[in-house]
Structure formats: C-alpha cells, structure tokens
C-alpha cells in the first residue's frame, strides 16, 4: 500500500464517518437524548479531525489528484466496461479546501444543535446523511457516485426543514426540495448524454475529463449540454434566476440546517460547475462563460438589493447568500487563475461566515421567537458576546480586510477586472450595497435605543460561543494568512482546462 493510498483511507473514513454515525443513531433509543448528542459530537470531532488532516496533508506543490482510492463497484456488465462504476475517491486542492469547510461547519452545527429536544435522534440521523452526501460529492471522482451523493445531500432536506423548521416551513421545504431536484433532472439528462456520447463504458470522471479535453466529446455536443449541467448545478448554487428557493428555504430551516445548507450545500452547486462544467465540457465552458458571468453579476447585485429591503434576519442572510454566490459564479466565469481561485476562496469564506450568521440568528430566535429587525434595538446591552460575533460575521460579509471575505472578494474582483472590467465595477457596487444592509442591521438591532422587552435575553451559551469561535478562527485565519489556501487552490485551478495563468 502506497502512502497516497493509505491517505485515501483517511478520505474514505471522512466520508464514512457521517454515514456510520447515522447508522449507529438508528439503534440508539430515541428517549436517550444525551447519547444521541454524544454520538453525534464524537463523529463530528472525527470528521473535523480528518478534514483538517486532509487539508494539511495535501501537498500544495504536488498539485493534481491526491489520496486516491478506488474500489470497483460494478463492471463488465451490459453497457459498463472495465471500471464501469467504482467508488473512486480522491482530492485536489479545491475539494481539500471544501472538505475542511465541511468539517468546520458540521462540527459547529452539531454544537449548535445540542439544545435541540424535539426528536433529536431523527434530526441528527437525517443531518448526518446530509453531511455524508456533501462529503461524498466533494470526494467522488466517479460520475455515478458524484450524482449519488449529490442527490443524497438533497434528500433529507425536506424532512429536516418540514419537521424542525419555522415560519412557513412546509412551503419552504417543498419549494426547496422541488427546485433542487428539478435541477438534478437537468444534471441527470446531462449525465446520460455524456456517458452515451463519450462511449467509454465508464463513469470514471478522470477519463471523462480527458474525453472532454481531447474532443471525444464533440464541441457541438459540449455546447449543447453545458447549460444542462450548469443550470442543474446552478440551482443549488443559487444561480439567478433559479435562486428563489434560497431565501424561503433558509427562512424556514432550523439553525443547524441553515448553517450546513448555506455554508456547505450551496457550494456543492458551484463545485459541480467546476467538476462537470469546466472540467468535463471545457469547450462548452469557453462558449457559455460570458453568460454565466452575466447571471453571476445579476445575482450579486440583485441579492444585495433585495437584502437591503428585507426585515427578517434570515431573509437578509438568504439574499446575502444569493449575492455572495453570485460572486462565486463570477469568479468561475472569469476563467483566469486568480478569478477562479477567488471563487473557491469565496466558497470557503462564505461558508464559514454564513454559518456563523445563521448560528447567531438561531441563538437569538430561540429566545425571542421573532426575527423582525424592527422589533429589536440595543441588543448589545444584554447580549454583548452575541453582538461581537455577529459583527465579525457581518464585517467579513462586507469584505473588511483581515477577515476571509476580503481575501476572497479581492481575488474575484482582480480576476473580473482582467477579463470583464464593466462587470467588475458592478460587483464592487454590490459590495457597497452589502455594507449598506449590514450596517443598517447593526444600527437598528445592536445599538439603537434599547427595547426593554428584551431585558430577559441571555447571551450565547458556552457551546454556541465555542462553535462561533471556531468559525471566527477560520475566518481570521484565511483573512490574515491565506497562503495555505491559495497555494492549494491555485495549483488545482491552473490545471483546469481553459483557465489562463
């Protein structure tokens, strides 16, 4: 066994941990709520540890795919030839970063859900299936399993939001599920077409990437099917105008689900665009990227403007997510090294930042049972720690230097100005709007005149503070010393077909 293969087992363990956790929870009696929490916390810690290991052990200067592991699953039957479908895992610089993000957010979300009492066994069980789907999508190098895990991540959301959510939860859950699955319809068609067109008898993505590059996948074919895959994945990445599930879904979702959903799951969409769009259909990508850029800019500006008019905390964050995912799409559409690197940085940055935002909103809502900005005022008096943490998240959102948002957005803007100067200008306008909606919220909620109705509010619990500190740590780390991230990501980005140096 080579060292790389041995590391592959770490990847496998990271993927298996949430699924094993779900399996174990199935046999834990539902009355024993503490045991449910301990099991979840244990596996969350395992995942965090493995994710950190994967990120640190990934050799930045090595580039390429590392820690590969392949187990044949089905082969030599009907249309499947040798290595037809295999559980083929591996990471590159992009997925290593995403794995780290998943580990951090899932751990923080577990701590946040500690106080959940209502059917917490079922909640964690579904939650771990969701996380398993997320990890699986990031690690899979086989198209079948990529789609398998992608769908797996979407599947539990209906129940998670429908049962444990708030505010029009049935509507939000149904809308979100149907839109996301509607997106996968397009992906499904795209996958059938690619497999048929490549005619290699394998779902191995590395081989299909090669087929996309060397013209086995015909250029016209690539141009035809690129929109299927990009819109399909784009729904999950809140690609305007397919973003409408995002505000409603986030508003209804319970705290931990919002955290993982906005923090990690939306990134699956952008990740899918890289894996299936840019890597598999490079000609199609070259042809369509200006369109993606336009939609990304519209999303960025529209999301920020919509956030400016909202009064509900979660809706503000929901629209702000649309706006930030717009940046990600812009970064991808630049197709130059710095821009795409920025997009991946933004995926990480927005992930930890928005997880922190939803964590804080949850901490407030659990006590106050309202999320209307107008109801609040001068909260800083009763919840100082809460206000500090929320402020940090908000400032990262705005792009304050020293926090992760700045690093990411700076890369994206530089990349955009290189290729599309006009759009770059619009994006900076959107960033200015972000400052406006954030500062408006700070002013009315945190500082304004104190509303005595809230004198009984308690500050964040130690567990929430720990989770928040972890997320803040990640934000500061990336904001201050981004080399570990950019080294890993930019090597991977440079190897993407069609990306200029």
């Amino acid at each position: 066994m080579t060292f790389d293969e041995a590391q592959g087992y770490v990847v496998l363990a990271t993927l298996a941990a949430p699924l094993v956790a779900a399996l174990i929870l199935l046999f834990v009696p539902s009355e024993n709520k503490m045991l449910v929490r301990y099991v979840s916390a244990f596996f969350a810690a395992v995942m965090l540890g493995c994710s950190i290991y994967i990120f640190t052990a990934f050799q930045a200067n090595g580039g390429g795919l590392q820690m590969q592991l392949r187990w044949t699953w089905v082969e030599n039957v009907a249309f499947l030839k040798k290595d037809g479908i295999s559980l083929y895992l591996g990471v590159d610089g992009i997925s290593a970063t995403m794995a780290l993000l998943t580990g951090i957010v899932a751990f923080a979300a577990t701590l946040t859900s500690w106080k959940l009492e209502y059917r917490n066994k079922d909640f964690f069980l579904l939650f771990w299936i969701l996380v398993g789907g997320v990890y699986g999508t990031f690690f899979s190098l086989d198209l079948f399993f990529f789609f398998f895990f992608y769908e797996l991540a979407v599947m539990p959301l209906y129940l998670l939001i429908g049962v444990w959510g708030s505010t029009r939860k049935e509507y939000g859950a149904l809308k979100l599920t149907m839109m996301l699955v509607g997106g996968s319809v397009l992906m499904w068609i795209g996958i059938f077409a690619i497999f048929h067109e490549a005619n290699l008898g394998t779902f191995d993505m590395v081989k299909l990437w090669a087929a996309g590059k060397d013209g086995t996948l015909d250029p016209t074919f690539q141009k035809t099917f690129f929109p299927f895959l990009v819109v399909g994945c784009g729904v999950l990445a809140a690609l305007w105008p397919f973003h409408t599930w995002s505000p409603d879904g986030h508003m209804s979702a319970p705290t931990a689900v919002s955290m993982v959903h906005a923090g990690v799951l939306m990134k699956l969409g952008a990740f899918g665009i890289i894996r299936l769009g840019i890597q598999m259909l490079p000609v199609g990508a070259a042809f369509w990227m200006p369109g993606v850029m336009a939609l990304g800019v519209i999303g960025a500006v529209y999301g920020a403007m919509a956030a400016l008019t909202q009064r509900d905390f979660k809706l503000i964050s929901g629209y702000s997510s649309v706006s930030h995912m717009g940046y990600v799409l812009m970064g991808l559409a630049t197709m130059n090294q710095i821009g795409v690197t920025g997009a991946v940085l933004q995926m990480f940055s927005h992930g930890v930042m928005t997880a922190l935002v939803f964590l804080m909103i949850g901490a407030l809502y659990d006590q106050a049972h309202t999320r209307d900005l107008k109801d609040f005022g001068g909260i800083a008096k009763v919840m100082p720690v809460w206000v500090v943490m929320y402020t940090i998240a908000g400032l990262a959102n705005v792009g304050l230097p020293g926090l992760s948002g700045f690093t990411a957005e700076f890369h994206i803007f530089v990349g955009t100005f290189e290729t599309y100067p006009l759009f770059g200008g619009l994006a900076i306008f959107a960033a200015a709007l972000a400052a406006a909606y954030m500062l408006r919220m700070f002013a009315t909620v945190f500082f304004g005149p104190f509303n005595p109705r809230w004198s009984a509010l308690k500050d964040v619990t130690p567990l929430e503070a720990t989770a928040g500190a972890l997320l803040i740590g990640a934000m500061v780390f990336m904001g201050v010393w981004w080399a570990p991230f950019t080294d890993r990501i930019s090597m991977a980005v440079l190897s993407l077909p069609g990306v200029t140096g």
């Binding site: 089905v74 039957v77 249309f79 319809v185 068609i189 059938f192």
Partner: protein, 497 residues
Amino acid sequence: MRDYTTFIPEYVAAGGAILVIAVELIWPNMRKDLLAYMTAFVAAGWAIASAAFIGMEPRSFQGLIQLDNFTTYFRFLASGIVLVTALMSAGYMRERTKTAAEYYGLMLIAGIGMVYMAAARELITAYISLELLSFCLYVLVGYLKRDSLSSEASLKYILLGAFSSAMFLYGASLIYGIAGTTSYDGIANALATRGAHTDAAVIVGFMLILAGVGFKVSAVPFHMWAPDAYEGAPMPITAFLSTLSKAAGFGLILRLFSGAFITDALEWRWTFALLAALTMTAGNLLAIQQTNLKRLVAYSSIGQVGYMLVVIAAIGYGDAEIGRNATSGLLLHITGYIISTLALFTALTAYYNKTGNDTVAGLKGLAETQPFLALVITVSLFSFAGLPFFAGFATKLFMFQAATTTELLWLIGLAVLNSFISLYYYLMIIRQMYLFEPAPEIQRFKVNPLLWGLGSVLMLGVLFIGVYPGPLFHGAAKAARPLFEQSASSTGIAKQP
C-alpha cells in the same frame, strides 16, 4: 424430443396449488393463515427447483416454450412475488373470509401463467398463458364477494380484460395470416422477407397486439381498469396486480418484440416511444390528484410502466447490443420495482389491518403512532422516486442509461422529468406521515410480527439493491442475453409446432 423435466418447477407449484385446495376440503375449519404459510412454503420450493436451471443450456419444448436464463429469471420473480404476497395475505384473509384455499391456489397458478408468458415462443402458447394469468386475477380481484367494491372491480376488470384479449387474438391472427406460422422464429423470418403490400395488415396486427398487451401492463390509453381494480381488490391482491401482472406483461412483450417482431421494428418502435411518453406523463399527473392510497399507487405504477416502455422502444431503435443492455436494465429495474412495491404494500396491509383506512390523509402522524411502518413506506416511496441509497436510484439510472440512444434522448429527458413530478406526490404522502401530529383518537399500535419481519426483509432488499446492485445486474444481464442471441440466429428452428 419431449423433455418433460423442463417443467419441474411448475409441477411443484401446480401440485402445491392442488394440495392447498385439497387441504381445505378435508379440514374446512382449519386456520386460514396456515394455508398462507403452506403457499409460501410451496413458492419457496418452486424457487429452489428453479435454481437448478440457472445457467443451463437453453432448451426448447417443441418450439413452443423456451427454457433459458430469461425464463429462469421470471421463475424467480414469480415465486418470490407469490411467496411474499401469500405471507402478506395471512392475517388479512383470515379476518375477512371463511374459505381461502382458492385464493392461495389461484395465486400459485397465476404465477405459473406469468412464467409461461415469459417462456412462450409461440403466439397461441403466449395467449393461453396470458389468459391463465388473467382468469386467476379476475377471481382474485373479486374474491371478497360481499364487498361491493371488490365485485365491481372484478366485473370491470373482466370486461375490459376480455376485450383486450380479443384484440390481442385479432392482432395475432393478422400476423398469422401474413407469416403462416405462429412460432416466433417463423414470424421473424416471414416478416423479414414479406412484400410491401402487406404493410397495412402488419401494422394493424402490431397495433392490436400492442393494445392487447398494453391493457395487461396498463399503459395509457389502455389503463382505465387499473385504478378501479386496484382500489376494489383485497390489499395484497393490489400488490399482486401491480407486481406480478406487470412483470408478466413485460416478459411477454420482451420475448415477443425482441424475437418475433424485431425484424420489423421500423413499424412498431415509434408506437412504443409514444406509448411510453403518454403513459409516464398521464400516470404521474393523474397520481397527483389522488386521495386514496391504492388509486395513488395505481397511477404511480402506471407511471413506472411508462419508464419501462422506454426500454421496449430502445430495443426497436437500437441494435442487438443496445437491446440486450436495455433489457438487462429493464429486468434489474423491474426487480427493484417489485421489491419496493411489495415493501410498500406490506406496510400498507399492516396499517390497513389495524385501522381499516386506505386514504392518504389517514396516514397523518404515522411517524408518531407507528414509526416502523412510516419508515418502510418512506423507503419504498423514495425508491420509486429514484433517490440514492434505495433501489430506484441505481436501477432507474442503469435502465435509462442503457436505453439512451440518440433518437430517444428526448424520451429519456421526459422520463427524468416525470420522475421529478412523481417526487411531488410521494412527498405529499411523506408529509402526512412526518409533518403532522396524529389525530387524537389514534393510539400507538403494534405491528403483527410476521408483517414486521416481512417489511424489514423487503426494506433491506431495497437498500441492498440500492447500495450494491452489481450481482443482480449481472444476473439480469445473463437473463437478457438469450433473447438477443436467438434473434441474431433465428433461422429454420421449429417451422411448425
């Protein structure tokens, strides 16, 4: 040579059927669930006897009946379905009838009908097998004769069924008129060399046969009987209808269209594409409006038939390789579908035995009152919808991938879109179970241990196929192979039976 050993598995089944009926004649007051266990035991014996034929050289009985891996595959399906449905019926029938022997006996015989529909290589044999199955089903659907809904369902089913049989026969006679033979190989040869002046007769013949078998698998627009028959039939028979009768129909269609009619695929393939498109769309759209569980499942299974018909169209459009691959996919999918459906009905039967309610709204709060049943129902519905970890995801993906040809990409797209629509009404059921509190008068209840065990086993089966479909897919591929080897070399076997 007349090799009567070919039929050993069915001797077991038919002998068992007679035995079951005889036992009740001798001991009329016996516990009726013992008959169910006997039937299950016989079905298990049937499956074991069939296992001896795995991988055996294909052999033909007088050119009428072909025994190959394809037949063996259907033997396993038939015996498996009978086994599960018999166990499912044990409690249900015990409460509702005084005499149950015919019920179980006919179940076994219906299974035999299914096997010979898949095994027949001659039109009359195929027709007789089809009627054998149909007559058993007519009786089974109307078995609860004091229940007016059951009688009504049976009457409707008989009338439309007889009508469709007549169409099948008329179509067969037209084909016979042109080919001069009823054997599949003979027809294939004759159709390959026929003159252009026979076009009209051949096309009409194909359409009539298609309508006839379309009725059996309840393809739109020949589906009218299905919702009523499903609703009126005893719950386990609804399961039987939606698994055995559909699988049997596809057995016949596959053998017939990949063998006898393959040389004239140009004339019928577009009809199957159209039929598939209509069936899946209508089935899924109509399912949305249903409030009765059995009717909802009826329409949902019509939608499923639409997906399966895509494969038949692909056989017509593609070459032998695509046909073989697509058939492997279909056999895999149909197996996954059968297991999921049986799991669903096991849960519904257990639920119905306790509550007597078969509406969607009645499931409200089931996750509180009976979490196990809610889980089984959810698993099978998610499997229908094609979500990962459950059989439907892998089987559907394989089936559609195998059927993907350039001409049919639109149909595959439509199929995927339909499976998206179906998720909506499945979620509506899941919503009832998980999102709402149960009505205050409904207490937490226990499930009969037999149904509990059956449900668990079937649920694990759904998960197993979903997680590791490899072995079954290999089996399905082996079963599909003989169909296309014959059609490639169909010269001069069995001129006349």
